[in-house]
């Protein structure tokens, strides 16, 4: 078994597939790392120009597979492999958080929607922790961000002034992985309203993973995204408030005031943030939170199902109106009360759809 850098060590796929079934976690980890290298190399050659979002690791059998890397406080991805499926927890808390939260997100999608990973075909979940960025003066500083780069998740450690480790938040990990799910489903164009829907759906399933894991009901939940990644201060409660957009942080000396609108009348129409993808997501976010609270019970049971079906059906350049129409249509499958709740929620944020009860 090759022990060298997997990028430099590509072995035949039939051998890798055999090794993936090994009872030895170390052998499986090496096999998965090698398969990743081979898959990426093939993908880069054949498809990178056309389908950059699909560069991932396909596995031969269904099931949960995770690979966690340590970027070792540099800006190089993925870094060194530090934990894979079947291996025990390590001393590094960020590694374990990213690993466990990715596992919870996989479990959520599999249990609630019978979805086998991002591509519904067992794609390996890849993440890197301790990602840093250059300060332009030859030094690396901790990254104040988490992102999905089309192939994997990446998490920074935060500056410890405003932000803490981004792996602390289950809903942030669920958010990033849902960007991966979307790249295999609606793949909404990342600008303007379609981009805001992309962000909205990442928030919806990010928060649902947390609510499901913690057993929080729609009415009992706080609907805050990313509260664990912020250094506590009276001026900040989270990075977004899905129920009350625009209130997650107020007059914060570093973050300012949450710019999210809660109604179409305040739609951001500027150029920043790809046309406000993280800003205007407040509008559909509130529609979802209001729908879930009006339907009652656990948000993942009915409202989550409606929005999951919607995510699968949305067109690539969908606007809020299309999301409202589709979710209202799917709500009709769950009875008049759900249909009316979803219709009323969209109306509340300034988007009018038909009632499909």
């Amino acid at each position: 078994m090759c022990q060298r850098d997997p990028i430099q060590c590509i072995i035949p796929p039939y051998i890798t597939e055999q090794l993936l079934r090994s009872s030895d976690p170390e052998v499986r980890a090496r096999a998965e790392a090698n398969m990743l290298a081979a898959t990426n190399a093939r993908a880069t050659r054949a498809r990178a120009a056309q389908e950059q979002s699909l560069l991932g690791l396909r596995t031969p059998t269904p099931g949960k597979r995770r690979l966690l890397y340590d970027a070792r406080k540099t800006d190089q991805l993925p870094g060194s492999l530090v934990r894979s499926e079947g291996q025990p927890a390590v001393a590094d808390v960020a590694v374990n958080e990213a690993f466990d939260h990715a596992g919870s997100t996989y479990d959520f999608y599999e249990t609630i929607f019978k979805r086998d990973s991002l591509d519904d075909r067992g794609l390996t979940l890849i993440g890197s922790v301790h990602l840093a960025e250059s300060d332009g003066r030859g030094r690396y500083v901790p990254l104040d961000n988490a992102f999905w780069n089309g192939k994997q998740m990446a998490y920074g450690d935060g500056d410890n002034l405003i932000f803490q480790r981004f792996t602390r938040s289950l809903d942030v990990v669920g958010h990033e992985l849902t960007h991966g799910v979307q790249s295999f489903t609606s793949n909404l164009t990342y600008e303007g309203q379609s981009g805001a829907l992309n962000e909205h759906l990442a928030d919806v399933f990010g928060i649902l993973v947390r609510q499901w894991k913690n057993g929080e009901t729609a009415k009992g939940a706080d609907w805050l995204i990313g509260k664990e990644v912020l250094v506590p201060a009276p001026t900040r409660r989270g990075v977004r408030n899905m129920e009350h957009p625009g209130t997650a942080y107020m007059s914060d000396p570093y973050l300012g005031t949450d710019p999210q609108p809660e109604h179409m009348s305040k739609l951001y129409e500027g150029q920043s943030d790809n046309g406000g993808v993280h800003i205007n997501s407040g509008i559909p976010n509130r529609a979802f939170a209001l729908s879930a609270k009006a339907i009652g019970g656990n948000a993942w049971d009915v409202a989550g199902r409606i929005w999951y079906d919607t995510m699968l059906k949305l067109s690539k350049n969908a606007q809020f109106q299309e999301c409202a129409e589709l979710s209202s249509q799917f709500a009709g499958d769950h009875g008049a009360a759900a249909a009316n709740a979803v219709h009323k929620a969209w109306t509340n944020v300034g988007v009018t759809a038909k009632v499909y009860a």
Partner: protein
């Protein structure tokens, strides 16, 4: 290359990231202490930014975006990069502008 500017105006907006907070600044070199004005002009020159355009990673999500606009003689250069496309030569300029930026909107 030396552009020989006396007064330089640079507009900067950082947006995006999973947090989505927006920070911005609008700096005129004449309003800065002489050392900082020289540093800004030097960083703009060293950035190599000479063609306007938007350079974004198509498959990535939640990267931070950096929009920079400045005048080069009679021409206005306006560029937008993300964390993955930002050229190494422009990172020192972005660091300078981030240090001088404030959260938006101001409350």
């Amino acid at each position: 290359m030396t552009w020989g500017m006396v007064v330089m105006r640079v507009k900067f907006v950082q947006s995006g990231g999973v947090v989505g907070a927006v920070r911005a600044c609008d700096i005129e070199s004449s309003a800065l202490p002489p050392d900082e004005a020289r540093e800004l002009e030097s960083l703009v020159e060293a950035s190599g930014l000479s063609v306007s355009g938007e350079f974004l990673s198509p498959a990535a999500r939640d990267l931070r975006l950096y929009s920079i606009e400045f005048d080069r003689g009679a021409e206005t250069i306006a560029v937008t990069f993300d964390d993955e496309t930002l050229p190494a030569e422009a990172r020192p300029l972005v660091s300078f502008l981030r240090r001088n930026s404030k959260p938006q909107p101001q409350s």
